[in-house]
C-alpha cells in the first residue's frame, strides 16, 4: 500500500524470469529437447560407436603409393586410407586415436624391395591391433607368393606412440550439448514469444509499468539457467557413466558453460527472428527446422565435418554450431582455455551481431 516506493525494473525482470523458468520446467517439449534427446543420443551412439567397421590409417606424405603393398591394402575393405592430412594433423590424430596408424611405404633399391614403417598409438590400441594383423596377413601372402625369387619382398618396422584415447563420447557429447542449446534456443524462444504475443500476454504486460527489456531479459535469463542446468547434467552423466574426458575438471566444465551461454544467446537470436516472421504456432516448426536441421547434420554433431566432401565442408564452415562444437571439443578434450579458441569465438561474435541485427528488425511485440 505504498505507491511512493520506487519501481524496480530489476524486480520486474526477476519476476518474469521466475515465472518463465517455472513454465519451461513444466513444458514437456523443453525437457524432451534439452535433456531427453541428447541423453538418448549419447546412450545409443556411445554404445554403437565403438564397433569399428573399418580402420582409419593415415598415409605418410612421401609414402610410395605405387607399390603392390599399397594397392593390396587399399583393396582391403577393413582398411580406410586417409591421404588429405598434413604431417602435423596426422600426428595429432594418431595421439588421440582418431586414426589407428600412420603407414609409410618406402621402395628400396636392394632387398627387401619395400620397407613398411608403421606408427601405432596406444590411444587406439584395439583398431591398431586389427590393422597390425591385416598387415601381417598381407606380409606373409606377398612374401610367400614370391617364393621363387628373393625371400622377402617387404619388411615391417612398427613403433607405438603414447597418446590419450579420444573416445567417441569425447566427440559426441559436445555435439549433443550443441544440439540441446540449438533446439532450446531456437524452438523454445520462437514458441514462447510467439504464443505470448498471440495470447496477448505481452499486451497485458504492457499495461503494467514493466519495461520491454525486462520482458526479453527475464525470458532469456530463465532459458539460460534452464539450459545451463541441463548442460551440467549432460556433462555429469557423460563424465561418470561414459568416461567423457574433462581435462581440467571443474575449470573445464566452467569454460564449457561459458561457451554454452554464448551459443544459447546466438541461437535465441534465431528464435526471436522466427517468432517475428511466423504468422501462427503451426508455422514455427517448419521455419525452425530450416534453421536447425542443416546445423544438426552439418556442424559435426554426430560425425566429424572432415568426413564430408569438400563442397559440403564449405557449408559447414559457415554455420555457427560448427564453431561452438569445435570450441567445446577443444576446451573439453585438449584442455584449451577460452583464450585458445578466439578464432571460434570471433566467428560466433560475427553471428551474434548479424542475427541480432535481423532480430531487431523482424521482432514483433504485438
Amino acid at each position: 500500500m505504498n505507491p511512493q516506493k520506487r519501481y524496480s525494473n530489476f524486480n520486474a525482470t526477476m519476476a518474469i524470469a521466475k515465472a518463465s523458468f517455472r513454465s519451461i520446467t513444466r513444458s514437456p517439449s523443453a525437457v524432451v529437447f534439452s535433456l531427453a534427446f541428447p541423453l538418448i543420443f549419447i546412450v545409443v551412439f556411445a554404445n554403437i560407436g565403438g564397433s569399428g567397421v573399418s580402420v582409419d590409417v593415415a598415409v605418410a606424405k612421401n609414402c610410395d603409393t605405387t607399390s603392390q603393398v599399397y594397392s593390396a591394402l587399399k583393396k582391403n575393405p577393413l582398411v580406410h586410407f586417409i591421404t588429405n592430412k598434413t604431417t602435423a594433423e596426422m600426428a595429432t590424430s594418431l595421439s588421440r586415436g582418431d586414426i589407428a596408424a600412420i603407414i609409410d611405404i618406402q621402395k628400396n633399391n636392394t632387398q627387401p624391395l619395400y620397407t613398411i614403417n608403421v606408427q601405432y598409438s596406444n590411444a587406439s590400441a584395439q583398431k591398431g591391433g586389427v590393422f597390425k594383423s591385416e598387415l601381417t596377413n598381407l606380409y606373409f601372402r606377398i612374401n610367400s607368393s614370391a617364393n621363387n625369387g628373393p625371400p622377402t619382398v617387404a619388411e615391417v618396422h612398427s613403433t607405438t606412440i603414447k597418446g590419450r584415447e579420444y573416445k567417441y563420447i569425447d566427440f559426441l557429447l559436445p555435439g549433443m550439448l550443441g544440439f540441446s542449446l540449438l533446439s532450446s534456443g531456437v524452438f523454445g524462444t520462437a514458441f514462447v514469444f510467439l504464443s505470448l504475443r498471440l495470447t496477448l500476454v505481452i499486451k497485458r504486460f504492457f499495461a503494467t509499468p514493466v519495461k520491454k527489456y525486462s520482458i526479453v531479459l527475464g525470458e532469456a535469463l530463465a532459458r539460460l539457467v534452464f539450459s545451463l542446468l541441463g548442460a551440467v547434467f549432460i556433462i555429469l552423466v557423460g563424465h561418470y557413466w561414459f568416461g567423457f574426458t574433462l581435462i581440467h575438471g571443474v575449470v573445464t566444465v566452467l569454460n564449457m558453460l561459458v561457451l554454452a551461454s554464448i551459443g544459447l544467446i546466438i541461437f535465441m537470436g534465431f528464435g526471436f527472428v522466427i517468432s517475428g516472421i511466423a504468422k501462427n504456432e503451426s508455422s514455427v516448426p517448419p521455419i525452425s527446422n530450416i534453421i536447425t536441421m542443416p546445423q544438426f547434420l552439418l556442424s559435426g554433431t554426430f560425425f566429424s565435418v572432415t568426413a564430408f566432401p569438400v563442397w559440403l565442408q564449405t557449408i559447414s564452415k559457415i554455420l555457427p554450431l560448427t564453431y561452438l562444437n569445435d570450441a567445446m571439443r577443444e576446451v573439453a578434450f585438449e584442455g584449451a582455455g577460452l583464450g585458445d579458441v578466439t578464432h571460434q569465438l570471433l566467428i560466433l561474435g560475427a553471428w551474434f551481431i548479424g542475427i541480432y541485427a535481423v532480430a531487431v528488425k523482424t521482432f514483433k511485440w504485438e
Binding site: M1, P3, A15, S20, R204, A207
Partner: protein, 254 residues
C-alpha cells in the same frame, strides 16, 4: 457522487492506415462511477479503451487520466490503472498463485496471492491453472489481476461476454463492490440489460463517434417522453427472471 472528472477525452482520433476507427470523440469519466461504453462490434470501443490505457498511440486529440497526460505521463498512468483485455490469456503453465506473484513483480507491489484471490472468491483455486477455470472464474481472476496495484481506475473490456446468467450476476456484484470501495470502473458491453443494471452513466459509440452520453434512466425516460412504446406489453418479469428463479441465484463453479 461528485462529478469530478478522472478521465477526460477530447477529440480523440485513431486511424489504422486508411481506416478511421475513432473519428473525434470526447467524453469525461467521473471519479467513483461505473462508466459504460456501449455500441456494436467495430464501433471503436476497444480502440478507445486501449488508447486511454496507453497501449496504443492516438492519431490526435487530448487525453488526461487522473491528471496525467497520456503522452507525457504514460508510466505514471500505468501505475494507477488496472486493465482487463478482451480475450487475453495468461502466462502458460503457471497456477493462479504464481500468476498473481508474477503480476506483483510486474507492478512492484508486495501482496500475497491469497489476499488477491480472496477478493474474487477464488482461494480454493489457488493451485489451479487459468485454462482449467470456468468462464466466470476466468473473468474474476482477470479482475483480480487488475486490482493488484490498488488502481484508481480499472478498465474491463466485455467482461461478461459468454457467461451464463448466474455468473454474470455474480460478476456485477463484484464490479459494484469494487466501485463501492472507491475505484472508478470503465466497462464495455454489448448487453443493454447489463448496462442498465450496472452503469451509473453510459456513452453510446457508433461508427467511431459518440452519439449520446447520459445515465441509463435519463436515456430511457427521454425515449418514452418522445412517445416510444414497446410493441409487446411489458410484463413485470422477463425470461431471464424466470431462468434465475428456476435455477437459483447462487453461482455454480465450472
Amino acid at each position: 457522487m461528485a462529478d469530478k472528472p478522472i478521465i477526460t477525452v477530447k477529440n480523440l482520433v485513431k486511424n489504422y492506415g486508411d481506416f478511421a476507427a475513432v473519428k473525434g470523440i470526447s467524453f469525461e469519466v467521473y471519479e467513483g462511477e461505473i462508466f459504460g461504453l456501449l455500441g456494436p462490434n467495430g464501433a471503436g470501443k476497444t480502440t478507445t479503451l486501449e488508447v486511454i490505457e496507453t497501449l496504443r498511440d492516438k492519431t490526435s486529440g487530448e487525453i488526461t487520466v487522473d491528471g496525467f497526460d497520456i503522452e507525457t505521463g504514460a508510466d505514471s498512468i500505468k501505475q494507477i490503472i488496472g486493465v482487463q483485455l478482451q480475450a487475453a490469456g495468461y502466462y502458460p503453465n503457471l497456477n493462479l498463485s504464481e500468476l498473481i506473484n508474477l503480476f506483483c513483480g510486474l507492478y512492484g507491489i508486495n501482496k500475497t496471492p491469497l489476499e488477491m484471490l480472496e477478493k474474487v472468491a477464488l482461494t480454493d483455486k489457488a493451485k489451479a491453472k487459468y485454462k482449467d477455470l470456468s468462464g466466470g472464474q476466468k473473468q474474476r481472476f482477470s479482475i483480480a489481476t487488475t486490482l493488484i496495484n490498488n488502481p484508481r481506475i480499472i478498465f474491463l473490456d466485455e467482461p461478461t461476454t459468454g457467461l451464463d446468467p448466474q455468473a454474470r450476476r455474480n460478476l456485477w456484484d463484484l464490479i459494484r463492490e469494487i466501485r463501492d470501495a472507491g475505484t472508478t470502473v470503465v466497462i464495455t458491453t454489448h448487453y443493454m440489460d447489463e448496462a442498465e443494471e450496472l452503469c451509473d452513466r453510459v456513452a453510446f459509440v457508433d461508427g467511431g463517434h459518440i452519439i449520446g452520453i447520459d445515465t441509463p434512466n435519463n436515456f430511457i425516460d427521454k425515449l418514452v417522453e418522445g412517445g416510444f412504446e414497446r410493441k409487446k406489453q411489458v410484463k413485470l418479469a422477463n425470461l431471464e427472471d424466470v431462468f434465475i428463479n428456476m435455477t437459483g441465484k447462487e453461482w455454480r463453479e465450472g
